[in-house]
Amino acid sequence: MAMNESPASPSSIDVTQVVAKSRNYWSTVLDRLSRDPVTLAFGAILLLILLSAIFADVLAPADPFKTSMIKRLKPIGTDGFPLGADELGRDMLSRLLYGGRLSLVMGISPVAFALVIGGFLGLVAGFLGGKINMAIMRTIDVFYAFPSVLLAIAISGALGAGIVNAIISLTIVFIPPIARVTESVTTQIRGLDYVEAARASGARSLTIIRAHVLANVAGPVFIYATSLISVSIILASGLSFLGLGTEPPNPEWGLMLNTLRQSIYVSPWVATLPGVLIFITSLSFNMLSDGLRTAMDIKL
């Protein structure tokens, strides 16, 4: 029963096996996701926000930089200004669409950079243990002495305003938590018998990390990083709000929230729009990471 197909053509079996293997796990993940309407809905919202930011120049009805003194603070629904106008008479819809670009870049890129650096540090510390672990983790602990907002402000302030500096400071803020999560997951996995068994089969550390540790660490760390994106968007907005991130007149949700703050009594609905978008985006990232965590759990 078993052996009739195997000895005949090893190469053709290879292909089918590889295909079936990769389909097996990911198809169950997709299957679980498809039965989770909440995660799907938030995923769709996120996709919408992402696409509208990417295609802002196509979608935007007006120039986001064009000011008009007579059209200042028009309410939502004004002719020609579907979402109103800001304090300098610029079209809110266009500015929100363009602002998504910067906000998303500043939300996602620090986490991505921190994932690479912090993940590497955590993996090394966790897998090697001992004195190296001690050196890396205690250094990282120093960053925990500051609240993350303060740390971001301090680094940004020291480096000076600007998008690149804001991204650098946020990356530094996110390295410690990611490194710590990676380290604890790695330490846990390092002690398991399958890593011992791999070592007993004569594999070198790098091979063991690549074949056995990485795949098992990546899941939880990746999901944790996804949840950090929402924090990053909020922190980036906060930096812009304080004038440390994006500089006017560039549209960015946090900065827009800041400048419209003074108009909140005149035009409350327009003033809250950037905040609403920050809220929806970060909520969506959080819900998505929650859903992914459930869907990617191997033991279910």
């Binding site: 293997k21 011992e196 004569g202």
Partner: protein
């Protein structure tokens, strides 16, 4: 006796206990203390003892998953880890281990095929050839390759997973298989199946087993010779019949009397060992068993008994003053104990 395939000389491992602010070593757990034994090719050596007596540490020392403080392991005439001997990597190719926990010893994100083929690929076998070998091994351990090759560990039962673990250990075509409580976590019927499988594989592949267990019945069923450990030391070693029919060390005798029997007439009447083994951080002076031994005398606390052959004719070795006429113990050798 046939020439030894595996020879262990004075193997010792003390685990340091760190404490205090500066992480200084404050004490040592004397996990394995200068043990020596030999395993001839094709034999099964059973290792028994209570929890914490150093059985698993011995297994890990043999595999070099932890490095010994002292002593040598000689594999097929070559000392492991020495430049003129055999490298650890080469030794691991010829000696493999099956772990107790069948679940945690398989990578949950790797299909069965990958887990079995991993070792051969590491040792330079073509991936396609290694995968083919994985299929053959699955069939050999009694699992249909077409059904199981792409499955993940969580989709299998404990018995099936342990078969996979055995297949993985065999993938490197080793000479020696260390079975560290390999069947202890399985229920009785599955345990019997796996034991029979192991016996068949041993015959077929001419394997040498080191069979570690706390289950005396299973050890008796599987082993040619038995090694009894207590608190990091060998107290008695001999053939199955010698150990089970005429145990000479009081600890072996106590262990055997604690063995449950299916025969109501042989039900245990005297109470077996009481209390816990002493702390291996600070073991008793002299004979380590003396605190729980009904025959302990002064000499037992003053002198450590050595593992000595009982007589010229038998292979049985015992570490007890009562078997040594010159020790000064008053109950010396009342031949039928």
């Amino acid at each position: 006796m046939k020439p030894a395939l595996l020879k262990v000389e004075g193997l010792k491992k003390y685990f340091p206990i760190k404490g205090g602010i500066f992480n200084k070593t404050v004490a040592h757990v004397q996990a394995v203390d200068e043990i020596a034994f030999e395993v001839p090719r094709g034999e099964t050596l059973g290792i028994v003892g209570e929890s914490g007596c150093g059985k698993s540490t011995t297994a890990r020392l043999l595999m070099r998953l932890i490095s010994p403080d002292q002593g040598a392991v000689v594999f097929d005439g070559m000392e492991v880890g020495r430049s003129d001997g055999i490298s650890v990597r080469d030794m691991r190719k010829r000696m493999q281990m099956v772990f107790q926990d069948s679940y945690s010893s398989l990578n949950p994100r790797m299909p069965i095929e990958g887990s079995i083929a991993f070792g051969p690929i590491v040792h330079g076998l073509q991936p396609s050839v290694a995968r083919q070998r994985a299929r053959e091994l699955l069939a050999k351990v009694g699992l249909d390759p077409n059904l199981f090759i792409r499955r993940y560990p969580h989709e299998l039962s404990g018995g099936q997973r342990q078969r996979i673990n055995i297949a993985r250990a065999l993938a490197l075509e080793p000479d020696v298989l260390i079975l560290d409580e390999a069947v202890s976590a399985l229920d009785k019927s599955v345990e019997a199946q796996v034991l029979n499988l192991l016996t068949e594989l041993k015959q077929e592949l001419n394997l040498t087993f080191i069979f570690i267990s706390h289950d005396l019945n299973v050890v008796r069923y599987m082993s040619d010779r038995v090694l009894v450990m207590y608190l990091g030391k060998i107290v008695e070693i001999g053939t199955v019949d010698e150990i089970y029919d005429s145990p000479r060390h009081p600890y072996t005798a106590a262990l055997l009397s604690a063995m449950p029997s299916m025969d109501p007439d042989k039900r245990t009447t005297v109470s077996p060992l009481t209390g816990d083994p002493p702390n291996p951080i600070n073991p008793p002076s002299g004979c380590r068993f003396r605190t729980r031994c009904p025959f302990a005398e002064r000499v037992c606390s003053e002198m450590e008994p050595e593992l000595q052959p009982l007589s010229e004719q038998v292979s049985q070795k015992v570490a007890c003053h009562m078997t040594n006429p010159s020790s000064g113990h008053t109950k010396v050798n009342s031949k039928e104990s």
